[in-house]
């Protein structure tokens, strides 16, 4: 029998970026917030042994323990979904701060086109440009409406950036100067400029200089140590919840974090949530935490699973297209990446941060004419200088064996003599890409796992083919003596790391029939539940999602405050 605890204003399911932002904003206004985090507590002192590639990059130190709970995966609804037994295609964080601790720190804003993608696509190309099985939707909010929330996120993390020179991209004023530019990034900038593109230094949450934000949080500059993505930052130079929003919330005295507390259900009656049921994983005891507002703030896959397990909202049915929970799951692609080998160069490849990159948006969104192309959208193109570590750093020119003498000597010879130019390919929704509960496999408590049904469709494969030629040309222009590419986008490989940019499943929009959330990230079907993660994206764009997630979290925080002040009701 679960013990019922005293009621709080807001309970958070998961304490990472979105939960941390809501906690900071609402506790500053005097509201009481309880954060339930199933992982362990964490501080920067936990990162003193972080320069360990095997432990963090290969053995996934900071990632969800899959022995307790994982997901099942398949390509289409006709297949039996099988468990994602080990981390591969994506890496989902665990513990206080969540994936906001091990992220790269690349912080973009989705484009004006993204938020009105259906309207703008029809306006420019006609409705027939959208395939029948692509439920492409506007977001129910515009870029201009979201801009102030983007500004808040940028200010809070002290985003280091350079103005995007592309004429169709918004002009953003960054709180701190861009990161330093490596010789390889300079080569990328010169080559891309010569080809008529608009390169710039990527906006980075790994600070270029020391910075104090409005909450009086001061952080030091990035040291370019080369252990960033998949790792935590021992300096606190990389913005993460534990060095920004969480200390702000704690300082108010209105925030209580309970770690090792795993939420199993959102409790609800008569269309309103009453609180959550969680288990203290240290004692095994169950508790009910009543709350006026429930904010679902874990990773998107876990958010959607919790909704389905709690029977909250109408589950998506791929056969009829009806229902919204699980709909429009999307991902990204990396198969337009090319590798250039430079016989006469030796780069300091071991230097870098997760957010050190030269980038361009000439082939992103609708920044180029798709009239004669067999796809919509696109992806950014970047040369990343993230810090190459030796276990993973084994690129060799085409035709080199993968083991033995020739492999060994070549992988060592080329270790500091190649650069990649990659693309983050956007993924449009498809009616057969969705999230649902698995009929067979269960977690440690016997609850069904979430099943991910996903594959790349023609729109995506065509897009990567097109962009691959451009990444190859940039490397040739940079002077590469040889360029290799991974070849055409194949079926989704669940074992090979691609990206932790999973999106959708509880999307925002203007219509309760086709979306789960309104533009305050408030659930249409349950007015006191807010879900501000990447689950809200109706499609996935061609850039890293965290900037947009951060903006949505500030938007949701404002919504929650309004909701509490109004004493309830729908905000739209």
């Amino acid at each position: 029998m679960a013990t019922t605890l005293p009621k709080t204003d807001i309970v958070l399911v998961g304490v990472g970026w979105t939960g941390g932002i809501i906690a900071a904003e609402l506790t500053k206004k005097g509201y009481k917030v309880v954060g339930l985090e199933r992982g362990k507590t964490r501080s920067t002192s936990d990162y003193l042994m972080v320069h360990d590639e095997l432990r963090y990059a290969n053995r996934n130190e900071m990632m969800q323990d899959l022995s307790k709970e994982t997901w099942t995966v398949r390509h289409d609804p006709s297949q039996r979904a099988l468990p994602y037994r080990n981390h591969g295609s994506f890496l989902i964080g665990d513990g206080l701060g969540g994936s906001g601790e091990h992220w790269n720190g690349l912080t973009y804003r989705f484009m004006p086109y993204d938020f009105e993608i259906r309207s703008k696509t029809i306006e420019r190309y006609g409705e027939e440009k959208i395939p029948a099985d692509m439920p492409l939707q506007d977001w129910g909010i515009t870029y201009d409406e979201l801009a102030p929330y983007f500004d808040k996120f940028d200010e809070m993390i002290g985003l280091s950036g350079e103005e995007n020179p592309h004429p169709d991209m918004p002009k953003i004023k960054y709180p701190t100067a861009p990161l330093k530019e490596t010789p390889a990034m300079k080569m990328f900038r010169e080559a891309a400029t010569a080809l008529g593109y608009h390169p710039y230094t990527a906006p980075a949450a790994t600070l270029s200089e020391s910075y104090t934000n409005k909450d009086e949080i001061t952080r030091g500059a990035c040291q370019y140590c080369g252990f960033c993505e998949r790792f935590g930052c021992e300096y606190g130079a990389k913005a993460s919840p534990i060095v920004t929003v969480l200390p702000v919330a704690e300082k108010t005295g209105n925030f209580e974090v309970r770690t090792e507390s795993s939420v199993r259900r959102i409790l609800h009656e008569n269309g309103k949530a009453t609180g959550v049921l969680y288990i203290d994983t240290k004692t095994g005891e169950e508790f009910i935490q009543p709350a006026t507002v429930v904010a679902v703030t874990s990773y998107i896959l876990n958010n959607v699973r919790l909704l389905l397990l709690s029977k909250l909202g109408k589950p998506y049915n791929y056969e009829t297209g009806e229902g919204v929970i699980g709909k429009n799951y999307a991902y990204q692609m990396t198969s337009a990446s090319s590798t250039g080998f430079f016989e006469d160069k030796e780069f300091n490849s071991f230097i870098g941060t997760g957010a050190l990159a030269g980038v361009l948006d000439d082939f992103n969104g609708d920044n180029f004419d798709h009239t004669d192309l067999d796809f919509i959208h696109g992806g950014n193109i970047a040369l990343g200088h993230y810090g190459r570590r030796p276990i993973a750093n084994n690129a060799t020119p085409k035709g080199t064996p993968s083991w033995g003498k020739e492999f060994k000597d070549a992988s060592i010879y080329w270790a500091n003599k190649y650069m990649g130019v990659g693309s983050q390919g956007s993924v449009m929704p498809n009616k057969n890409n969705f999230l649902s509960l698995d009929p067979q496999y269960t977690d440690q408590y016997g609850d069904p796992l979430l099943s991910v049904t996903f594959n790349y469709k023609d729109n995506e494969r065509n897009q990567q083919k097109y962009i691959r030629e451009i990444t190859t040309n940039i490397l040739k222009e940079m002077g590469a003596t040889e360029v290799t590419t991974p070849g055409d986008q194949e079926d989704w490989d669940t074992t090979k790391y691609q990206t932790t940019h999973n999106t959708g499943g509880a999307i925002m929009g203007a219509d309760p029939k086709t979306s789960a959330l309104n533009n305050y990230l408030q659930m249409w079907d349950c007015e006191n539940v807010f879900i501000p993660g990447a689950n809200a994206f109706p499609h996935n764009s061609g850039m890293n999602p965290t900037g947009t997630v951060g903006a949505l979290a500030y938007r949701a925080a404002e919504g929650i405050e309004k909701y509490l002040a109004n004493g309830g009701g729908s905000l739209v």
């Binding site: 320069h51 899959l66 030796e346 300091n348």
Partner: protein, 258 residues
């Protein structure tokens, strides 16, 4: 011939001489193949650990990490030979054996990696439905797969040459590993020869290049070959440098012992 090459040749010939002396006894036991090769290993070490770093400090010649947690001595010899073919000693630098990669793999298999403690291991299993795109869909652990793989290498060696895998010439070992990688040999188990090979290749590279705290990458020899500086606190003043910066590598022990 460089000093390194001379050492290498000396090592090889020592092994050959030693193998001729079959029938040696130790503690009353007749030394079979596995034990022989272990003793050979010790002999090799005496020959090759006379570099300046070690002669400067005699106390460091005993590496207590060089013992087995998981493999039997014969399994160790088999995996040792296989890793050396995957990452052999060349003019560029040391191979897997000299970098102590086989000990790394042994120690990894004994713990969470071998038992897959943080992975989803619940059934049911449908290995036949699982294309490689869906990963490791079998009830077998990495411990099981390594043991099956080692048995496979030895049974193939016996079938083809009437010897153990680690007794074969390099070309013969390469021939068998190539067949294993290509699934051209039979393995009666809920996994494939190529999956074992994939694990072995990945574990070999991990042993070459992980921090020496795990028992491989001896004296940071893997890092030195790739000019990787290991654990350093800051590169902020080198980011923009046009020329390559060579830095003496440092392992995590530097972070702990201060």
């Amino acid at each position: 011939m460089s000093e390194k090459e001379q050492n290498f040749t000396a090592k090889k010939s020592t092994r050959r001489n030693f193998l001729k002396n079959s029938g040696l006894t130790l503690g009353g036991l007749v030394l079979g193949g596995a034990v022989t090769s272990l003793v050979v290993k010790d002999t090799e070490e005496t020959v090759t650990t006379s570099g300046p770093a070690h002669s400067a400090n005699q106390n460091e010649t005993v590496n207590h990490n060089k013992a087995l947690m998981f493999f039997t001595p014969e399994q160790y010899s088999t995996i040792s030979a296989a890793t050396e073919q995957i990452f052999p000693e060349t003019e560029v630098g040391p191979g897997a054996e000299a970098l102590l990669v086989p000990y790394f793999i042994d120690h990894q298999l004994a713990g969470a990696y071998g038992l897959m403690s943080k992975e989803y291991t619940k059934g049911p299993f449908y290995p036949k439905e699982a294309t490689p795109l869906f990963g490791h869909q079998t009830h077998l652990t990495r411990q099981d797969i390594f043991v099956l793989g080692i048995n496979l290498l030895n049974s193939e060696a016996t079938k083809r040459y009437e010897k153990k895998f680690y007794e074969l010439e390099a070309e013969q070992q390469i021939e068998i590993l190539t067949a294993v990688e290509a699934d051209e040999v039979e393995l009666n188990a809920a996994t494939t020869p190529s999956y074992f090979f994939k694990l072995l290749r990945a574990a070999t590279l991990e042993g070459v290049y992980s921090d020496p705290l795990y028992g491989g990458n001896k004296d940071m020899g893997g890092w030195k070959m790739k000019k990787f500086p290991g654990h350093q606190m800051s590169y902020a003043n080198m980011v923009e440098k046009e020329e390559f910066v060579e830095i003496e590598p440092q392992s995590l022990t530097a972070q702990h012992n201060h």
